[in-house]
């Protein structure tokens, strides 16, 4: 569990673990799995809210629940930077972790694959593999996206790659 800050770790341990090992093609098992995914996401969201640390909104984009879209944001210098978030559940899920995409930031940072998929730390994959099938979408967000945002957004803002929407508007006007 090394490599993550104490806050992340404590949060992670509070997210309910999943039990069903099923992919999108497993029929009713996947439905079961999806239910568990929802439960854990609800718990995580509630946890964030209670800690005044709410930072994302997602929802299933198709009835099968294999594609998810939503928003995520980060507060830096009292300014809220908000980005679109989307990802697909891979066929080999849950053995393979979903690839989280921030399409707005595509090409703006090196810590990103083509198409806006974020680069995760070297620790992520082993940890995920080790905890398969107990980790779900909530865990992936907590372990993957939250630390990435905290690390990359201040650099992007400071380097001017990302501008606040108010600033962008004013600059556009001018």
């Amino acid at each position: 569990m090394e490599g993550w800050d104490p806050n992340t770790k404590s949060t992670l341990t509070q997210i309910p673990l999943l039990t069903t090992k099923a992919g999108p093609r497993d029929g009713p098992a996947w439905t079961q799995r999806l239910k568990e995914e929802y439960k854990s996401l609800i718990a995580y969201t509630q946890m964030n809210k209670s800690n005044d640390n709410d930072w994302f909104r997602i929802s299933a984009a198709n009835p099968e629940g294999t594609r998810w879209t939503g928003k995520c944001w980060y507060v830096h210098n009292l300014l809220k930077y908000e980005f679109d978030l989307q990802f697909d559940i891979p066929v080999t899920y849950p053995a393979t972790a979903p690839e989280l995409e921030l399409p707005q930031l595509d090409g703006k940072t090196q810590k990103m694959y083509r198409g806006g998929k974020i680069c995760l730390t070297v620790h992520f994959k082993p940890l995920w593999a080790k905890n398969c099938p107990r980790f779900g979408i909530a865990h992936a967000l907590c372990l993957g996206l939250a630390p990435w945002l905290a690390a990359e957004i201040p650099i992007l803002v400071d380097s001017g790659m990302v501008k606040h929407k108010d600033d962008a508007a004013t600059s556009a006007e001018s």
Binding site: Y38, T45, K49, S50, N53, D54, I58
Partner: protein, 818 residues
């Protein structure tokens, strides 16, 4: 689609839509509070805790302090700061507010103490006090960690209520204890009958208490006793007076004191200060004067005027009867001499007597009537005469007297009044010296070098005495006398025949035996002042008499010296004449010695004796001693011992010279004697005439004539030979030879050349006959009437027959030559 799934989707949706709670950081809150301050929404001081996490208002702080104090009763501010968690500074500040607002609290040495706490402490103390019956405040203070003053101030209002006891000098006592100690003090104070220093009493009581209570007993302060004592005195439970806070004089004692003094004084009409001091009255005279104002204080006693009346009567009596009295003998034993003198000065009869010269006070306490002193003086004067006579005549009578004098000699120097007599005697000496000088000058004696020499004067009395004695020829007592006189010399050296004080005292003691009979411890005390008083008068009269004697003696001295000179001239010329004759025999030593000796024995001895006796006499006269007999018989001769003793008694250098002369007299050479004689003559101011040719001839002539007439008149066959031989020497050698019998033979043989055969033959024959006659006479024993006497007679006849021839021999030649 599964319902459950839909349900979950909806739940998730709603969960995401729910409003998240809002959280503020500490920093934000602090900023908010500051903002509130700025906006004056919070318009009071806001304190914060030590941890910095909490704000607290002063009111709350005060409240918390109060709560804490109420809980504990007593709490230190430091503990309070810890307990409340607010900075000490604020706690102190608010504590002051709290204490000032609440009268039941007090802030002492960083501690807040409530009144209820003191109440409980007082109760504790009371419990302990009832147990121990006494507690020291200092102990309590130490226990409570507050000052003892604090404890006192706290306890005082509670004494008698909460604390049932009594606070005394830093100690708490129960009433029972106080009562017990009070009883002790009362008992001790009532037991005291003599004046006492109370602190001594307290210390003994303390000891008693400690013994009773053992080691646990707390030392009771003396001041506790004192305060109890003072209370008792105030209540009148013990009677007496207290001086300087500690000197307690019980009434019993004061009453006894007064009574004893009153009774003694009324009985004896005097009281000694010593008695009062024994009765512990520190200032007797003041005490007595205030009690008996009409009485008289003396040095050591205090008397009633009746004492004076009594003394006065006695003195009046003594004065009227021409007697004396010792006031001490009348006064009580305790009176000192100082008292007596003061008392005497108060007697009216003495005052009168002193004014009219009827009374004299000696030695502070002795009163003498002038009539008595006159009587003593007259008797002493008579004694003086006998004394002088006895001392000058040098009889044995005065010896024992002198003995005592010599004995007193050493002590006399220490007497204070001695200085007076010394100075007077010195004066005497000076006067005498001048007198002597006058006398000498008048006597034409050429004023010798030693004139007026103090040394000379010192021995004057002795010399005169000696002379006197010699004149009397009291040879029997001479040896003893010389000893006595030697003593006399010593004693006399100081005062020159003036009767000494001790002598006078002795005399007075014998003259007035009452002094001894009175049984005085030391008759000296009265006799000495009396002697001192009388002595100057006696000395004055003595001096008068001495003066008269001096003028008388001057004449005689002159006469004496004239005589001496005359005699000395004559005999000295003769001596010189005879000395010349000795030259003839210078070649014959043995004969010369015999001749020298003979000359010294005969002519020189008479000269020396005459000289010594006359000088002695002169000295005596000079000293003013009355000399009865001026006739010094020429024939008087002295033995060598006497000569030396006389010579020794001469003053200084004269004595030395005289001794040389006397020694030379014993020698064999006439020349040494002659020089010695010249010396002494010079020393004593006499002239020695030198023999000149003219004088020699006339002397020789007269000598020859004398001899011739002697020879012609001489009937003794033995002595005629010597005279004839002398005459022959005068005729032939013109020398006056004085030859003893033994030298006659030699003298005769010397004449051999000078005489014709026949004459010489006559001379030798006569001489041999004389020698045989003398030999026979010396051989003859007195009582036997044998042939020797016959032979002496026949020889004598033979000599008598030859005598005319011998005489003719001389007389013829004498006439033929002249």
């Amino acid at each position: 689609m599964d319902d459950e799934l839909v349900e979950l989707q909806k739940q998730f949706e709603s969960a995401q839509q729910a409003k998240s709670s809002i959280r503020l950081s500490d920093r934000n809150v602090v900023e908010l509070v500051q903002k509130l301050h700025e906006l004056h929404i919070i318009d009071f001081d806001l304190l914060h805790t030590v941890s910095g996490k909490e704000y607290i208002t002063p009111d709350q702080l005060r409240h918390e302090i109060l709560v804490e104090v109420k809980r504990l009763g007593r709490i230190s501010l430091i503990d309070l700061a810890d307990a409340i968690g607010v900075d000490l500074y604020h706690v102190e500040k608010q504590a002051q507010h709290v204490v000032s607002d609440d009268p039941g609290l007090m802030l002492i040495q960083g501690e807040i103490i409530s009144q209820s706490y003191w109440d409980s402490v007082a109760e504790e103390i009371n419990e302990r006090l009832q147990e121990c019956s006494q507690v020291a405040l200092a102990e309590l203070a130490a226990q409570l960690h507050v000052s003892s003053e604090m404890v006192t101030s706290v306890l005082e209002p509670r004494l008698g209520t909460t604390v049932k006891g009594r606070l005394e000098a830093g100690q708490l006592y129960t009433p029972a204890y106080v009562a017990r100690v009070t009883a002790m003090v009362r008992g001790a104070a009532r037991a005291i009958t003599v004046p006492t220093n109370l602190s001594v009493l307290w210390s003994s009581l303390q000891q008693l208490l400690q013994e009773m209570e053992g080691a646990s007993g707390v030392a009771v302060e003396g001041s506790f006793f004192q305060s109890l004592f003072n209370g008792l005195v105030k209540e009148g439970e013990i009677l007496g007076s207290l001086r300087a806070g500690v000197h307690w004089t019980p009434n019993v004692f004061a009453i006894a004191q007064k009574e004893s003094i009153d009774s003694f004084f009324s009985q004896n009409s005097f009281i000694s200060y010593d008695v009062l001091q024994k009765l512990r009255i520190p200032q007797p005279d003041q005490f007595l004067q205030s009690r008996y104002p009409e009485c008289i204080p003396l040095v050591t006693t205090f008397i009633h005027p009746s004492m004076i009346e009594m003394l006065d009567a006695a003195i009046e009596d003594a004065l009227e009867h021409g007697s004396w009295m010792d006031s001490l003998s009348i006064l009580p034993m305790s009176f000192g001499s100082q008292d007596a003198s003061k008392l005497l000065s108060l007697c009216p009869s003495i005052q009168q007597g002193l004014k009219s010269d009827k009374a004299i006070i000696f030695g502070e306490s002795f009163v003498f009537s002038s009539a008595f002193i006159k009587d003593v003086y007259d008797r002493l004067e008579k004694e003086m005469e006998t004394f002088i006579v006895s001392s000058t005549s040098g009889t044995m009578v005065s010896d024992d007297l002198q003995e005592t004098k010599v004995g007193h000699e050493t002590s006399r120097f220490t007497e204070s009044n001695e200085t007076v007599s010394d100075s007077s005697s010195n004066k005497q000496t000076m006067e005498k010296g001048s007198k002597k000088k006058k006398g000498r000058v008048a006597g034409n004696m050429g004023a010798g070098a030693a004139d007026g020499d103090p040394e000379n004067q010192d021995s004057v009395p002795t010399k005169s005495k000696k002379n006197q004695r010699k004149g009397k020829n009291s040879s029997s007592a001479q040896v003893a006398d010389s000893k006595a006189s030697a003593k006399l010399v010593k004693s006399k050296e100081e005062n020159l025949n003036i009767p000494s004080e001790d002598w006078m005292m002795n005399k007075i003691a014998t003259l007035v035996p009452e002094f001894e009979e009175q049984g005085l411890d030391d008759p000296q005390t009265i006799i000495r002042p009396l002697a001192n008083y009388v002595r100057p008068m006696l000395i004055n009269s003595w001096k008068e008499r001495r003066k008269a004697l001096f003028t008388e003696n001057a004449e005689r001295m002159k006469h004496l010296l004239d005589n001496l000179q005359k005699k000395l001239d004559e005999s000295f010329l003769n001596m010189q004449l005879y000395e010349k004759a000795l030259d003839l025999f210078e070649d014959d030593p043995s004969t010369s010695v015999i001749l020298h000796r003979h000359l010294l024995r005969t002519t020189a001895t008479t000269i020396v004796d005459m000289l010594l006796l006359n000088l002695d006499m002169h000295n005596k006269l000079k000293n003013g001693v009355e000399v009865e007999d001026t006739q010094i018989s020429e024939s008087s001769s002295l033995n060598p011992g006497e000569r030396t003793s006389i010579a020794k008694n001469f003053p200084g250098s004269l004595s030395k010279k005289a001794l040389v002369v006397v020694e030379a007299l014993e020698g064999k050479r006439v020349e040494t004697f002659m020089t010695a004689l010249r010396d002494i003559a010079e020393e004593s101011g006499l002239l020695l005439k030198k023999l000149d040719k003219k004088l020699e001839r006339t002397l020789l002539h007269s000598y020859q004539k004398d001899l011739a007439s002697q020879v012609s008149a001489e009937m003794d066959p033995v002595s005629v030979l010597a005279e004839v031989v002398s005459l022959l020497y005068v005729q032939i050698h013109h020398k006056a030879l004085q030859a003893p019998g033994r030298a006659i033979a030699v003298a005769v043989s010397r004449l051999k050349d000078k005489l014709d055969e026949s004459a010489f033959k006559i001379l030798t024959e006569y001489q041999t006959a004389t020698v045989t006659l003398l030999a026979l006479i010396s051989a003859a024993s007195g009582d036997e009437e044998d042939c020797t006497s016959d032979r002496i007679l026949s020889k004598r006849e033979l000599l008598e027959n030859q005598m005319p021839a011998l005489k003719g021999l001389v007389l013829r030649t004498g006439t033929s030559q002249s």
